[in-house]
């Protein structure tokens, strides 16, 4: 298993789409706060400090996570079906369950690295421009590490969902477009269904799709923490097991 994970990490390191995504998101992460800085300066408004910027914009990272998972799933995983590499992988004498697990770990690692770019790069830039400042009253010092930990956890959960659909579609174009639409629409769909069938409201409330928006909250009630932790973990396990099932049954063309 260890060698399979190493193979996936090696592929990730050499993957052009991963490099391009990192560069694009890093560039955006630099440009976004800079535009605010220039705008505020020319308008004579007070500048954001690093802490204020993080608290205000950390929720935007959710879009980056969704976009990058859709793109990486299409280019990093589905392209292996298109290029035929998956034939060599699947016939390498390794159990398909292990192959899928290694692929999921490599893919999640890539997505998790990307998910940290925006909060870390923009925070560093704004702090350099205007200083880190003070966290608002009532926000403890663990806010930043907690946000980063949850970011990683929720990215892994989204990656597990992305990998599952990639195993089903196997084509880059289909995978990317479906995941983009799915990740952008699922909140609306579940929310809308909940208005007619109440169980969907409960499902939505305890799904990673809803809870992703809560990880940047400055205050989290003690009672909410188990759900925030368990929901992504369960999502990873369930999506992972479903992915293994799909991949085991999949005929590779």
């Amino acid at each position: 298993m260890y060698n399979l994970i190493r193979a996936e990490l090696f592929k990730l390191r050499k993957d052009r789409s991963f490099h391009v995504l990192v560069l694009i998101i890093a560039a955006l992460s630099l440009a976004y706060p800079l535009l605010y800085y220039i705008d505020n300066k020319s308008g004579g408004k007070p500048q954001f400090t690093g802490a204020e910027f993080l608290i205000k914009f950390v929720a935007s990272n959710g879009y980056i996570i969704k976009f990058s998972i859709a793109a990486l799933a299409g280019f990093f995983i589905a392209s292996e079906y298109t290029t035929g590499v998956m034939k060599t992988v699947a016939s390498s004498g390794n159990d398909r369950g292990r192959l899928y697990a290694a692929k999921l770990i490599g893919f999640s690692a890539g997505a998790m690295m990307i998910s940290l770019i925006f909060p870390l790069v923009s925070l560093a830039e704004v702090s350099m421009l205007s200083g880190f400042g003070q966290l608002p009253e009532g926000v403890d010092a663990f806010f930043l590490p907690r946000v980063l930990r949850f970011t990683l956890l929720y990215t892994a959960a989204y990656a597990a969902i992305g990998a599952l659909f990639t195993a089903m579609f196997t084509e880059s174009g289909k995978t990317i477009s479906f995941l983009m639409v799915f990740f952008l629409m699922i909140n609306t769909i579940l929310g809308g269904l909940g208005e007619y069938i109440p169980v969907f409201t409960t499902v939505y409330d305890y799904s990673v799709f809803k809870l992703l928006g809560d990880i940047g909250k400055t205050r989290i009630d003690g009672g909410d923490v188990p759900a925030l932790l368990l929901v992504p973990l369960l999502t990873i396990v369930v999506s992972g097991l479903l992915g293994v099932l799909v991949f085991r049954k999949k005929e590779i063309k």
Binding site: K14, S91, S92, G93
Partner: protein, 307 residues
């Protein structure tokens, strides 16, 4: 220890509304080069993909290196390499990097095998050149290096010479012969270029519409290919009747130009001419002839009308 690397037992594969493989029993001996002959869609690739674990049979079983359970088959696949429908490569990586991914995948310790394989296929000088900039011949050779990486004992090659220039075809053939001779490598190979296959294979399997029509050794094929007598008589229909009645065989064909191909009488052409003369026929031509693999294949599948 089984003397066969691969045996299939009543192997069938059905897709929606069509039968790709119909109760196929293939046996491939250790150390042989098995030429798999069939038209497009005959079932060659389907069988290869099932053996490689890429597709699943609808019915029947396979035995690889004498083992047959799912777990054992997965393990046995570590001892084989494949190129199916072109080499599977990462275009943005170098040759060494492609081999490194596969080395890690197969859990091969040490990196020595990479340089060894590059040397084996003559790609040691490609350095930092990305695979996307390789010629098709180079890609095929790299595909072969990947297939051989874990010192494979069994290679599955589906149309490995497709798109190659004549020089690369010869190089590939010589390389495969060398690997077979020096390492005792067993090879299952399909090709549309039957003359090419004829120069390489020690055994043949002919598949048509998903059915395995025949398995034979190169010697048996040569015997069969050379055993017909070409007869041109003034009255072809009567000649055919005489052959059937006097020689008691129906193993002959009347060609559109009236010539008769009589099989199995190559060594007894005197008997044939006596029978025809005795019937008062004028023989314009009577000579033992051979045919190539292509003609034999066409005959086995029932002529060009069946293609």
């Amino acid at each position: 220890m089984s003397e066969y690397v691969l045996q299939t037992n009543q192997l069938s594969k059905r897709f929606k509304g069509s039968v790709a493989l119909d109760k196929v029993n293939v046996s491939i001996r250790k150390g042989s080069i098995y030429g798999f002959i069939g038209q497009n869609g005959a079932g060659k690739s389907t069988l290869m993909r099932i053996v490689a674990g890429l597709a699943f049979p609808s019915e029947g079983t396979i035995e690889l290196f004498g083992t047959g359970t799912e777990r054992e088959l997965t393990e046995a696949r570590k001892r084989m390499g494949l190129i199916i429908e072109g080499p599977s490569l990462f275009p943005h990586m170098t040759a060494s990097e492609n081999l490194e991914v596969n080395r890690l995948l197969r859990g091969i310790p040490g990196k020595d095998c990479i340089s060894r394989m590059l040397e084996l296929v003559g790609l040691q000088g490609t350095g930092r050149k990305k695979v996307k900039n390789f010629s098709l011949g180079m890609k095929q050779r790299l595909g072969l290096a990947i297939a051989m990486l874990s010192d494979s004992e069994f290679l599955i090659l589906d149309e490995p010479t497709n798109g190659l220039d004549p020089m690369s075809v010869i190089e590939m053939r010589e390389l495969l012969k060398r690997l077979n001779h020096e390492r005792g490598l067993t090879i299952l190979i399909s090709s549309h270029v039957l003359s090419e296959l004829h120069l390489l294979a020690s055994h043949y399997g002919i598949i048509h519409h998903g059915k395995l029509l025949e398995q034979l050794t190169a010697r048996e094929l040569n015997d069969k290919c050379q055993q017909y007598v070409h007869i041109k008589a003034d009255q072809p229909d009567r000649a055919a009747m005489v052959i059937q009645n006097e020689l008691g065989t129906t193993d002959f064909e009347v060609m559109p130009d009236g010539a008769i191909k009589l099989y199995g009488y190559r060594e007894q052409s005197g008997k044939v001419s006596t029978a025809l003369f005795s019937a008062g026929l004028t023989i314009e031509q009577l000579m033992p002839m051979g045919e190539d693999l292509e003609s034999y294949f066409m005959k086995r599948i029932g002529g060009a009308g069946n293609v």
